[in-house]
């Protein structure tokens, strides 16, 4: 039997307390957890982590071979790293892997056969959405709209074949929206021109708590979280070409809507109560303290992101355009302060930690950038020589990134 670290019991106690007092936010995480796409708060900020900034071959703690392709990023719960992959001629074999964070050994792997459509653009694959966890379970979502829940030991808990239940819930180019967990609800968006909905699924039973119609337009964005504040429960923010909707994660009721349109690829994020939306370049709004409405803050046409979602660090908004140019804007005003040329194209969203940004371009180049008020500086580069399309993860002072073939762990040299 695997011995759980002491933190697990503490975490369970906190979870129980959170449930008792009705805290409607992602279950309190172990300090080293990275539980979903762009981290616990879905904003790409790795709080309290101290990642290696001098990336080199020597900072690679381990590199493991993967059984299939994936644009999905890794997540981490305690000392387990979870990852999805897809394989087979038709990309219909769906994998979930649990990897020991310390050793890189595969602890378990489960495979499934997609129940929804598996065709997509060659650049994409079924394992495009990043999985999520509530600290007790893993929720693996795929482009085929299969949503699979296992416990941390790999035991299947429930299986939703949204692609079979709603047969037009697919996009012929592929789907990429990653799920988020808020309280006891895992929230997914399956949106295309043929059919579009968002659903809140009970994390324990797999049953649908709510399902709402969404704009019938192709949409690759992921939901994000407006954290609980001032006694107001957390809200899910669902983005589409129409804009951004704040949704009660328990009921699916729409609380407010930002209707000025938004991108269908990079996703919004929330930092310190401000929502940063890829809309008309970049737009920020500030929800009211009771969460029922919002006010406009600023709009900047020259901070528009391409595929990677925006990040906020040191009071700067960071975006990357399709030419690989990083733009830094003043988070208070939206004024563009400086630009920095990186190499190549980017699909993955950078990660912000210990005053640095961690980028991986599509060609497999890693860039560590130190952004300051006046300028940004590349402090280290590393060529991993494999196509990388995922967003990296941070856990317990280590950085994780995957390609179609491998998963890497970077940590300080010992």
């Amino acid at each position: 039997m695997r011995h759980l670290p002491a933190t697990t019991n503490r975490r369970r106690a906190v979870l129980a307390l959170a449930g008792f007092v009705g805290i409607g936010f992602l279950s309190p995480a172990h300090s080293g957890d990275w539980r979903q796409f762009r981290g616990n708060d879905a904003n790409s900020i790795a709080q309290g982590e101290n990642l290696p900034t001098e990336l080199s071959g020597g900072s690679i703690a381990w590199k493991v071979e993967l059984p299939g392709r994936g644009l999905s990023g890794p997540i981490a719960v305690d000392q387990q790293v979870f990852l999805t992959a897809s394989s087979g001629y038709s990309q219909d074999r769906l994998h979930i892997l649990s990897i020991d964070a310390e050793t890189g050994e595969t602890q378990w792997e489960r495979q499934f056969e997609a129940t929804g459509r598996t065709g997509c653009h060659p650049k994409m694959c079924m394992a495009t959405p990043t999985p999520a966890s509530d600290g007790e379970r893993v929720f693996a979502f795929y482009s085929s709209s299969d949503l699979i829940c296992t416990d941390l030991a790999g035991n299947l808990q429930w299986y939703r074949g949204f692609g079979a239940e709603y047969r037009n819930a697919s996009n012929s180019l592929g789907m990429s929206s990653s799920p988020i967990v808020i309280g006891s609800t895992v929230i997914v968006q399956a949106e295309s021109e043929a059919e579009a909905f968002a659903a809140g699924v009970d994390t324990v039973t797999g049953e649908t708590k709510w399902k709402i119609d969404r704009p019938r337009k192709a949409n690759w964005t992921s939901p994000t979280i407006l954290p609980a504040a001032n006694g107001r429960p957390a809200l899910a923010l669902l983005q589409s070409s129409a804009g951004l909707s704040a949704v009660d994660p328990e009921t699916g009721n729409v609380v407010w809507t930002f209707g000025n349109g938004a991108s269908t690829i990079p996703s919004s994020l929330v930092v310190d109560g401000t929502v940063v939306i890829p809309s008309n370049g970049l737009t920020t709004i500030r929800p009211s303290s009771d969460g029922t409405t919002f006010e406009d803050v600023w709009k900047s046409s020259n901070l528009g992101p391409s595929t990677p979602s925006p990040v906020v660090i040191n009071g700067l908004t960071i975006t990357v355009n399709s030419a690989g140019a990083l733009s830094a804007g003043d988070m208070a005003t939206g004024k563009r302060l400086w630009q920095l040329r990186l190499k190549g194209k980017f699909s993955g969203t950078p990660l912000a930690s210990n005053g640095h940004l961690f980028f991986f371009n599509e060609a497999g180049y890693a860039f560590v950038v130190r952004p300051e008020r006046e300028k940004g500086e590349i402090v280290s580069e590393l060529d991993l020589a494999e196509t990388i399309l995922c967003s990296p993860a941070a856990s317990d002072n280590a950085l994780y990134v995957r390609s179609d073939g491998h998963l890497w762990k970077f940590s300080e040299q010992r």
């Binding site: 001629y89 065709g119 299986y159 037009n168 996009n171 021109e193 039973t205």
Partner: protein
């Protein structure tokens, strides 16, 4: 009393109880449904079967047959949980039973492949022993492996031997990439290859249109061909009177290119129909590729519809399971073009084939045989 009596009696009592528990557990896994129905029972069943250990591996695999895809995933995950536990405990899997199961083509292709892959972990030589005999296997994965071996052998063989190996490989090939590789090699060697027939594309159609689809409003509109298929009729179309015309394609991949062969009427839709003679009642897949919105009817029944424009097209983009009746079957397709102006949004086309679940063509009976079947008027 014999000292073995009590344990034996206990076993006699307990073993059937275990068997009953396992059978009930397997039924619970097979009973899962959409919307997570039966998941709670299935979670318990998985643990019951896991505790039963390796003895449950074969029954779990056998339960794949007749189970839904969803249930098969529960069965698969249960198999993996048991096998994983057994191997980590240093216990072997029941190799003989699993091997026999892999060889039994009446069993589920997915389950056979699962058993094969677990056997390979400890017995990699099985690949050489089994795969060469799986060229026409009901599992597309096994077929693919067998075809690959022949392609590799052909690439290393002399010219005459290579042609024979490629020709043999073609008999089992169901995937586009392998068919393309083989076809190119055979054509380069001067051999004739009929790719369209190999895949089972339908190449001869009747077509009528254009009907109005401005602002993409025509998709839900029920134009006359949807209610009555009369190939002699004339209707009011988008640009005037329209009537059924013959159209055919000689494209290797069966692409009927409305935009090039007729005209790329923007904001329009067309109906195409053909007949397919089946020698028996049979379940097949109709596989369609198109970048346009579409609806498909078989013998007057709507099989599927999809309103998506210009998100790419490819062979076997959509797989629609259908039941064909013995004799003549009527296939009707509605193809819709919108008014997007981008270069990448101008295609107005589709390709359609009839195949089995492996992707191997299912061909209509020959014209001679068809002539022996009473024909019905398409009205």
């Amino acid at each position: 009393m014999n000292r073995f009596t009590i344990p034996l009696a206990t076993l006699c009592l307990v073993a059937p109880a275990f068997a009953d528990d396992s059978a009930d557990a397997i039924r619970a896994l097979q009973s899962v449904g959409e919307h997570a129905t039966g998941a709670a029972e299935a979670r318990t069943a998985l643990q019951t079967l896991k505790q039963g250990g390796a003895a449950n591996l074969l029954p779990v695999l056998k339960a794949f047959n007749g189970s839904s895809k969803l249930a098969a995933n529960w069965l698969r995950s249960t198999f993996e949980a048991i096998a994983d536990t057994e191997q980590k405990a240093g216990r072997g899997l029941p190799k003989g039973d699993l091997l026999a199961f892999v060889k039994d083509t009446s069993e589920s292709p997915s389950a056979r492949r699962l058993a094969f892959e677990w056997l390979l972990k400890r017995s990699p030589q099985l690949e050489d022993e089994l795969i060469p005999g799986m060229l026409l296997d009901p599992s597309p994965d096994f077929r693919r492996d067998a075809v690959k071996r022949l392609i590799d052998q052909a690439a290393a063989a002399n010219a005459d031997a290579a042609v024979a190996l490629y020709a043999k490989a073609m008999t089992g090939a169901v995937h586009e990439d392998q068919v393309k590789t083989i076809a190119k090699a055979l054509k380069d060697a001067g051999e004739e290859v009929n790719i369209s027939r190999h895949f089972g594309f339908l190449t001869k159609w009747k077509i009528i249109g254009p009907f109005d689809n401005k602002d993409q409003k025509g998709f839900p509109v029920v134009y006359p061909p949807e209610t009555k298929l009369d190939l002699t009729a004339e209707y009011d179309g988008q640009l005037g009177k329209v009537k059924w015309e013959s159209i055919a394609t000689d494209d290797d991949y069966g692409v009927l290119d409305i935009g090039k062969q007729i005209e790329n009427y923007k904001g329009s839709l067309m109906y195409t129909t053909t007949t397919w003679q089946s020698e028996k009642d049979q379940a097949v897949e109709i596989r369609l590729g198109t970048p346009n919105a579409w609806k498909l009817w078989v013998n007057g029944a709507l099989m599927f519809e999809r309103e998506e424009y210009h998100r790419g097209t490819r062979l076997d983009q959509y797989k629609v399971p259908v039941s064909l009746k013995a004799g003549q079957n009527t296939i009707l397709v509605k193809i819709c073009q919108n008014e997007q102006e981008q270069d990448w949004a101008q295609d107005y086309q589709f390709q359609l084939r009839v195949c089995d679940r492996t992707g191997a063509a299912v061909l209509p009976v020959t014209q001679a045989a068809a002539n022996n079947t009473p024909r019905k008027e398409i009205r």
